[in-house]
């Protein structure tokens, strides 16, 4: 029985780990070059606080609790540079490579030729439901990585945009000229 519980805990932990992007070690050099680095970490303990104290009796709090309660982590890392060219496609590829791993599928790619922006939205599926999400948004002077772990209701994705440092992106493929 104890062995089964341990194995289950390992399996759950391992599954959650698959939904988490690893920030490459080389990004510490990007941080040194960046004019500003924003690091948002809402780990299970922090999100648990919000979920614990949000009331079901208040409609606004109940709605917020519905969004937050299924989440196990929200991680945002944003690098802002003073000039263009401070990070390379190779840097971004280190992230995109992880999103080509098992379970991940990138279904939304938003590209703006005018602003030279590229945002990729990827989902991690497990047992038929969405268990993780990642956004890599690359602009000439800004690189933003968003990683959300937990049960994500696709209906709530729009609610998360613009919150917690998560960039607003269009929800359909489009090229802007």
């Amino acid at each position: 029985m104890k062995l089964a519980v341990c194995l289950f805990a390992v399996a759950v932990t391992s599954a959650q780990a698959q939904t988490l992007l690893k920030i490459p070690d080389s990004f510490s050099k990007l941080a040194d070059k960046a004019e500003e680095v924003v690091d948002v970490t809402l780990d299970p303990a922090t999100l648990g606080l919000a979920s614990k104290y949000l009331s079901d009796k208040n409609p606004d709090e109940k709605a917020a609790k519905k969004v937050v309660s299924g989440l196990k982590g929200i991680y945002v890392r944003s690098y802002t540079f003073a000039k263009e060219g401070e990070y390379s496609e190779a840097d971004v590829e280190l992230l995109r490579h992880q999103l080509r791993g098992p379970g991940w599928s990138c279904i939304v790619n938003v590209r703006s030729k005018k602003d030279r922006e590229n945002a990729q939205v990827c989902f991690f599926s497990q047992n038929g439901s969405v268990a993780g999400m990642a956004i890599v948004a690359a602009e000439p002077k800004e690189l933003t990585i968003v990683n959300i772990s937990g049960n994500i209701d696709p209906e709530h994705l729009g609610l998360l945009e613009g919150q917690f440092g998560i960039p607003k992106i269009h929800s359909q493929n489009k090229d802007d000229d």
Partner: protein
């Protein structure tokens, strides 16, 4: 019976109050760590007690119960800020969850925001350094207020400290 009741009541009272006292020391511990790290002392703010009263009266359902410490005329190297988040985290201890970290070493700016739960409300500890000034603010917020603060985590420190470079306030000398 009465002779046994009084010591027991005293122990119960201490058990209830002791965690609160420990939690109240967090602010002082953090400001002490900042003083040690940056080699400065807190700036006296006249009328702070009166201000606290009006904040509590004006925002009964939002942020209240705040503590504030400011440090002025700071002089330090940009490298001092590189591990400043660790200094803050160590001073607060594991009860506080790190939430937001904003670093801009070239501008000598840092914002660190930590949170912990207490009595149905959330306590936020916001440390902001901007060039030659530093501010530490602790406040209690409702969960909705906390989520509202999180909408723009990159500017939380400036919102708490009341400074905004775009408004031309507090420009570097």
């Amino acid at each position: 019976m009465m002779r046994k009741t009084i010591p027991v009541c005293g122990l119960l009272l201490a058990a209830v109050c002791w965690p609160a006292r420990g939690a109240d020391r967090d602010f002082e511990t953090l400001t002490g760590a900042i003083e040690g790290r940056l080699g400065v002392h807190r700036t006296h703010i006249p009328g702070l007690g009166v201000a606290k009263f009006f904040v509590r009266a004006a925002a009964p359902s939002g942020a209240h119960g705040f503590q504030l410490a400011t440090f002025e005329d700071l002089s330090y190297s940009p490298e001092t800020l590189r591990d400043f988040h660790t200094v803050v985290a160590n001073a607060l201890g594991p009860a506080w969850q790190p939430m937001v970290q904003v670093q801009a070493p070239a501008r000598k700016e840092y914002t660190g925001i930590f949170v912990r739960g207490q009595g149905g409300r959330l306590r936020m500890m916001i440390t902001t350094i901007e060039a030659r000034e530093a501010t530490v603010i602790e406040m209690k917020v409702s969960p909705l207020e906390w989520l509202d603060w999180l909408r723009e985590p990159g500017t939380m420190g400036k919102r708490a400290g009341g400074t905004n470079r775009n408004e031309g306030c507090c420009e570097e000398e």
